[in-house]
């Protein structure tokens, strides 16, 4: 909200304070200063009233004029580009040497399209008076050329742009802010006069007001003003409106706007003669009822909306915007002046539904003091009588259905001290509240009971009073001490388990990525269409790019790997821990996942980076990382089972089974998906349910004794069909070996072609160890023989010739 300091100064003395002091006072009263703007600039003697003595077309340019401008003493040739320049006009003239406020450039002798120019005729924007740059300023014809501009133009103004918090609707006005200043500065608040003379028949004889919806409209007042002379508003008024960002539209409308800005009461003036049967009905709109508002839009209304109607039709959307048919025009001389109180929730709902926001709805949505309806009406009537020569019909039609007109709240002084944490005397608290307009109705050594001023609609509870005391006493006065720590035995394992998982993954070389929880349906579809129906869709997304809650972390992981590759990050290992979402027949669900993704030769040494990475290599790297993670988190054995996945290459998609539980999916991303990044290298990703992975993060097994007897290690090597898995080989070995077999590790594997048949050569290191004695060669040899026999019998291995 814009607050010009000069206007503020009308109600409380603030002109003696610097902008910085004013800002600080506002800030620490709880009103945020969003900006401070200076309108108009201090103009030196180089800026004078000029008179355009002659004006001709520029010989070489259609849009330029060549003028002779008198500065009172001399005449200057000036080239001017404004469309409205003409002979006889009084203008704002900047002489050679003047520094133009907007842009800060110096006026010099110049040649424009071959014609010399000695000075500049200014627009309002160039003098920082307004945004107007349509043409040059046209000054009052009565001014004398040569008069210093600063003597005839308004002085520079400081305008605060304030952010008023939602609860402080009373500060949505100049007087509201002034009242706050008066309390902070302990200065007097001066309110303008609302007295005016009345004449003729009483207001009630001119119109009938019926309030049908007393909930939506607790108070409705109407005044009748006749014979208003249509004239522009006085300069001071239109200037103030302009400083507050409101366009001047003629006296009647200006007065309603002015009073709203001044005191916070939105007003509406109806052209009295247009009201059917001179009747005002405040009622709910009819379903589908239409109304053309003053902005020319046709609004379709519904029964939740409150309208102001005449005997026939809706004429205004209550508290939001007036209707075109009954609006005040240049020929209107008789008005019905509405000053009403509308319930905040209703206005809020209506404005939201219609997508309309007005200065009026902005205030009503936040609650307007019901007492203000009459004061605002009087103030506007007084101005219309004074400035517009209006005749006010005696009295006011006032339909007042407000429930409680005043509230009282008790404050326990000790409670206040306890909550604020300062030693503040009872008297000091009472003094603060009185300064803010609260009235003590009862008081003893324990508590005070305060009548809440009508404008403080936000005060309901003791806590609200405590806030007032804390704020006015000064939050800076609240002491800082050593913080109090307590010993907590609350369970923080879930958080620590996540931290452990992250620490493990980073130690394994994975960097953490973080993506939005939503993405486009297209991205999800490209990855896996199968989940379509079970997705959680945002009904009102910011854009289609963020329209669906992710049901997997992998689409974004793939995108990020690809994007990094396209930025020449040739190898990366990423992980993300985050939630995924879904919708199971109307019931949203969410679950935490861990995703991993690798691209490039991440598992290789630095001296071997150029050799192309193959799928099997990359899949085993990621499997290795999963195994390491599972070890660290005590999650159990990791198994991969082949499966099908639309985003993954055929034969390269796997279900991840951890400790026997289906936990996730892993695989090499299909060429089609990689194609958008022009990636030929494999990209391998995995996604797991965090719950399974983290369930035993801090489990501890039973400590095993370090073996005391030496181990005997034997290597066996053989040829075997490609179709026999490592798992099968190990299983076979374990099945027949004695319990002293303590380890089976593959140490070598390659394929060779023997008489046209692909065979796999594998080497296994077997470790035997007893917990009670040293094993003899003989025993181990026997065990090995048994193993080899079993491998030959069951898996048809061929023992390699040495």
């Amino acid at each position: 909200m814009k607050v010009p300091v000069s206007w503020l100064n009308e109600y409380v003395d603030v002109a003696d304070l610097s902008v910085k002091e004013l800002s600080d006072k506002l800030t620490f009263a709880g009103i945020e200063v969003e900006g401070v703007e200076t309108v108009g600039a201090l103009l030196d003697d180089n800026f004078v009233v000029g008179e355009v003595v002659a004006c001709e077309r520029h010989p070489n340019a259609d849009r330029l004029s060549v003028c002779r401008v008198s500065d009172g003493a001399e005449e200057w040739q000036v080239v001017c580009g404004a469309p409205n320049v003409r002979s006889g006009l009084k203008v704002a003239f900047a002489k050679i040497g003047a520094v133009v406020p907007e842009g800060g450039f110096v006026i010099k002798r110049a040649k424009l399209r071959g014609v010399e120019s000695f000075g500049m005729i200014c627009s309002a924007r160039e003098l920082q008076l307004s945004e107007d740059h349509e043409g040059i300023m046209e000054l009052d014809g009565a001014l004398v050329a040569g008069t210093l501009l600063r003597e005839v133009l308004p002085a520079p103004e400081t305008v605060f742009d304030l952010e008023i918090t939602w609860n402080r609707s009373d500060c949505l006005s100049i007087i509201g802010v002034a009242r706050e200043f008066a309390a902070v500065l302990k200065r007097e608040l001066r309110l303008p006069s609302v007295d005016f003379s009345e004449a003729g028949e009483p207001a009630s004889s001119f119109a009938k007001v019926v309030v049908e919806d007393t909930v939506g409209c607790p108070r409705y007042t109407a005044r009748i003003l006749q014979g208003i002379k249509d004239r522009p508003s006085p300069a001071w008024m239109s200037r103030r409106l302009e400083l507050c960002g409101v366009r001047s539209l003629g006296l009647t409308v200006d007065v309603t706007n002015y009073v709203m800005l001044e005191c916070g009461q939105p007003l509406h003036a109806f052209d009295y003669t247009t009201l059917a049967e001179r009747t005002i009905v405040v009622r709910r709109a009819r379903q589908g009822e239409e109304l053309t508002t003053i902005d020319g839009e046709v609004r379709r209304l519904d029964t939740d909306m409150v309208v102001i109607a005449d005997a026939v039709r809706a004429t205004a959307i209550a508290g939001v915007m007036g209707g075109e048919a009954t609006e005040v025009t240049g020929t209107t001389s008789n008005v019905l002046l509405e000053s009403a109180t509308f319930a905040a929730p209703s206005i809020k709902a209506t404005a939201t539904k219609l997508g309309m926001r007005s200065e009026s709805s902005h205030r009503f949505e936040r609650t307007v003091d019901g007492e203000l309806a009459d004061w605002g009406s009087r103030r506007a009537a007084a101005l219309l009588v004074e400035l517009g020569g209006a005749t006010a019909a005696p009295g006011v039609i006032d339909i007042d259905n407000r429930k409680a007109k005043s509230t009282t709240v008790a404050l326990r002084f000790k409670r206040a001290r306890d909550v604020i944490g300062v030693e503040l005397g009872d008297d000091a608290m009472v003094e603060i509240l009185e300064r803010l307009g609260f009235v003590v109705t009862e008081r003893d050594g324990v508590r005070g009971v305060f009548k809440v001023p009508s404008w403080r609609c936000d005060i309901e509870l003791e806590a609200d009073l405590i806030e007032e005391v804390a704020r006015m006493h000064g939050l800076d006065a609240i002491p800082e001490r050593a913080p109090v720590a307590v010993v907590s035995s609350d369970n923080d394992e879930p958080f620590r388990a996540r931290a452990k998982c992250r620490a493990t993954l980073t130690s394994l070389g994975f960097t953490e990525a973080m993506h939005y929880s939503f993405l486009s349906a297209a991205e999800l579809d490209a990855f896996d269409k199968r989940s379509g129906a079970g997705r959680l869709v945002l009904p009102n997304p910011v854009s289609a790019d963020y329209a669906v809650m992710r049901d997997s972390l992998l689409p974004q992981m793939v995108g990020t790997l690809g994007r990094n590759a396209s930025r020449q990050v040739m190898s990366c290992a990423l992980f993300e821990m985050g939630r995924v979402f879904g919708n199971s027949s109307g019931h949203p669900w969410e679950e935490e996942r861990v995703a991993l993704g690798i691209l490039g030769a991440v598992g290789r040494g630095k001296l071997d980076l150029r050799r192309p990475v193959k799928n099997d290599e990359a899949v085993l790297w990621l499997r290795g990382a999963l195994e390491a993670l599972a070890v660290k988190l005590h999650a159990g054995r990791v198994e991969l089972r082949g499966c099908e996945h639309p985003a993954m290459e055929k034969g390269w998609a796997f279900e991840i089974v951890i400790d026997g539980k289906m936990t996730g999916v892993m695989g090499a991303i299909s060429g089609a998906l990689r194609h958008q990044w022009r990636l030929t290298a494999p990209m391998v990703v995995a996604e797991l349910q965090a719950e399974v992975l983290l369930a035993n993060s801090f489990a501890r097994g039973v400590l095993q004794d370090v073996p005391t007897f030496p181990a005997v290690r034997r290597d066996v090597a053989f040829l075997i069909s490609e179709s026999v898995t490592h798992e099968a080989i190990v299983g076979c070995i374990k099945k027949v070996a004695p319990q002293e077999l303590t380890g089976v590790e593959i140490f070598d594997m390659f394929n060779l072609v023997e008489s046209g048949v692909v065979l796999r050569s594998v080497g296994y290191a077997l470790e035997f160890r007893s917990t009670s004695r040293t094993l003899t060669d003989n025993e181990v040899n026997k065990a090995i023989e048994k193993v080899m026999q079993a491998l030959k019998d069951e898996l048809k291995v061929v023992i390699r010739d040495k």
């Binding site: 800030t27 709880g30 945020e32 905040a344 929730p345 939201t352 949505e365 306890d418 909550v419 604020i420 944490g421 509870l461 003791e462 806590a463 405590i466 806030e467 804390a470 939050l475 609240i478 002491p479 800082e480 001490r481 913080p483 109090v484 720590a485 307590v486 010993v487 907590s488 609350d490 923080d492 931290a499 992250r502 993954l505 980073t506 130690s507 070389g509 994975f510 960097t511 953490e512 990525a513 973080m514 939005y516 959680l536 945002l538 009904p539 009102n540 997304p541 910011v542 963020y546 990020t560 994007r563 990094n564 990050v569 990366c572 992980f575 939630r579 949203p588 969410e590 991440v602 001296l607």
Partner: protein, 338 residues
């Protein structure tokens, strides 16, 4: 030769092996001591001349001598081996061969830091779902039905009841509803608002709330003291805090919390927009109406709550100029947070 002389020769032989600087010298030592006509074989032959009483010890010592010497000779052979002209020359300037660790996301790092700092004061991390109810996200937090934060323009609603939480405060509601006071939690987590993304706004962001409710008086001064401690731990020992009055539906009194600028120390710079202060958090004493919603008796409890944006802290602490960098996941950006 006596035992003592034997020991001396032993010492000499070991030293000779150690001192040998090349393969030739080493071989000469070998020949001198263990060659066919070397000292040790010669001494073995002379065993018969050793007095009978000393003979076993003498013999044993000869054996160990020989063994040790040969072991040392073998070990040194590698060291003095003449470089073979065609063999590889080791280049110690090559990069090391070990996997490079990854980096946690800066948002995670800030959350971890917040948890560490408040953990020292006895706060425990609590969490709740991203998809929340109107009651937990708004109603129980005393947000009027016509408060603008409820707008479809600001909040992602799924239906009349369910929404993406706009703040982590609903976790307070969940925890208080389930536990009696004292409650001392921080609640880092993801939140969503229908903001158009720009350099400082993101529709998807993180917050962390803190809540302390107790049956003995807890004051604004306690809140200030706690946040001042947090400010020093998070941003540096010289950083201070100030409160400005504000409004939040769920606290009363409500304040906004500024930290003095950790870059300029308060004199004004680009980071603090010349003000010397940086807005960090919203805070206040829990509104009594909130206590009623969660089933606490407002007369029996005192408490404060605070909330802050994690990305914002990360941006201020690490000098990140655009919030979008945090969700871009460019490895060249992320790897700088190691």
């Amino acid at each position: 030769m006596t035992l003592a002389e034997l020991e001396q020769s032993y010492g000499e032989s070991m030293a000779a092996v150690r001192d040998a600087t090349d393969a030739t010298a080493l071989d000469q030592v070998r020949v001198r001591y263990v060659g066919r006509n070397g000292l040790i074989p010669a001494l073995v032959k002379q065993m018969k001349d050793v007095p009978a009483a000393d003979r076993p010890a003498f013999g044993k010592r000869l054996q160990t001598w020989r063994a040790e010497l040969e072991e040392l000779l073998e070990a040194r052979k590698g060291e003095v081996a003449a470089p073979v002209a065609s063999g590889p020359v080791f280049d110690a300037t090559l990069p090391g061969q070990w996997s490079v660790p990854g980096v946690e996301h800066p948002v995670t790092q800030v959350i971890a830091e917040v948890a560490r700092i408040f953990g020292k004061l006895g706060f425990t991390v609590a969490d709740g779902p991203d998809v929340e109810t109107r009651f937990n996200n708004f109603t129980a937090l005393n947000t009027a039905a016509h408060h603008p934060s409820m707008d479809a323009a600001d909040t992602f609603w799924f239906d009349d009841d369910l929404l993406l939480r706009t703040q982590t405060s609903p976790v307070q509601v969940r925890v208080m509803t389930a536990h009696k006071p004292p409650v001392r939690i921080i609640t880092p987590g993801r939140c969503y608002r229908r903001d158009t993304t720009d350099a400082t706004h993101s529709a998807n962001f993180h917050q962390t709330e803190g809540l302390y409710v107790d049956t003995r008086p807890v004051s604004l001064a306690d809140l200030k003291s706690t946040l001042a401690y947090f400010a020093r731990e998070m941003m540096g020992s010289k950083v201070g805090v100030r409160f400005r009055p504000h409004f939040f539906p769920f606290t009363e009194p409500s304040v906004e919390v500024d930290f003095s600028c950790h870059i300029c120390g308060g004199s004004g710079c680009r980071v603090c927009k010349q003000s010397g202060w940086i807005e960090i958090a919203g805070a206040g004493m829990v509104d009594p109406r909130v206590y009623r919603f969660v089933g606490y008796d407002p007369e029996e409890v005192y408490g404060y709550a605070f909330g802050m944006g994690v990305e914002r802290i990360a941006m201020i602490k690490y000098g990140i100029k655009d919030i979008r960098h945090l969700y871009e996941n460019d490895v060249r950006f992320l790897s700088q947070f190691g």
